[in-house]
């Protein structure tokens, strides 16, 4: 199941609708829905915030192969930014006065998904997420 979305946080309801439709059709434990929704939002908002002037829409594809749920989010007009290595660390052990919100979203994605990969080809950046749902 896939869709293309405006580069705008106001497109989030449509993004969540895609995830909702995927779960309505896929035989996947409902407990997986929250980490999937959160991971899709975090990567989508990362694309929107860090590449606000990108020309094209953002593509999202979800699929289930046996017990493996995979999600591909593609920014079709993106400079290279490897989210697996270049995102700031959120400093989760720091005391309150030193905490900053940056980096938290991708940190949560790494915690909630089994695997995160990044590819950059022909001007398009893709984040590939996967999670075993067996």
């Amino acid at each position: 199941m896939s869709g293309n979305f405006s580069r705008d946080l106001l497109a989030l309801p449509q993004v969540f609708e895609l995830v909702e439709n995927f779960f309505a059709n896929a035989m996947v434990d409902a407990k997986v829905r929250f980490p999937v929704e959160l991971s899709v939002e975090e990567v989508f908002t990362n694309f929107v915030r860090h590449n606000a002037k990108g020309a094209d829409r953002i593509g999202i594809r979800l699929r289930l192969d046996d017990d493996n749920l995979s999600i591909a989010l593609t920014d079709y007009d993106a400079p290279r930014f490897d989210v697996t290595t270049e995102a700031p660390e959120p400093g989760i052990d720091e005391p309150l006065e030193k905490r900053k919100p940056g980096g938290l979203g991708l940190h949560l994605v790494k915690k909630m998904m089994d695997r995160i990969e990044y590819r950059h080809e022909n001007g398009a950046g893709t984040v590939l997420l996967s999670k075993s749902v067996g």
């Binding site: 407990k31 989760i92 919100p101 949560l108």
Partner: protein
């Protein structure tokens, strides 16, 4: 849908989905707080890092005057997010 309302004991009741599209609206409420508050999560279905960022900013601001947010009725999946974020160390979660 996301709403913030004041309850009968002056607690803040969060309802719905606290995602990135709602963060600006929530900021006006949370960053306008002049005293510590109890925040009831019992009707909150979802929160992402954008929502966590708003709570963090409010907690930092309140801590400057020795006050804080206290979170109640936090569901297990949202509790997991707080744990992964280290927020269980900086918020009182009842």
């Amino acid at each position: 849908m996301f709403e913030i309302k004041e309850g009968p004991n002056r607690e803040l009741i969060l309802t719905g989905r606290f995602d990135a599209s709602q963060a600006e609206k929530a900021k006006t409420v949370f960053l306008g707080l002049s005293e510590g508050k109890t925040v009831d999560f019992s009707r909150l279905d979802y929160i992402s890092s954008a929502g966590l960022g708003v709570l963090l900013a409010a907690q930092k601001r309140l801590s400057e005057s020795g006050q804080s947010l206290r979170l109640i009725n936090v569901s297990s999946h949202i509790r997991d997010v707080f744990h992964y974020s280290g927020f269980d160390q900086i918020f009182e979660i009842v």
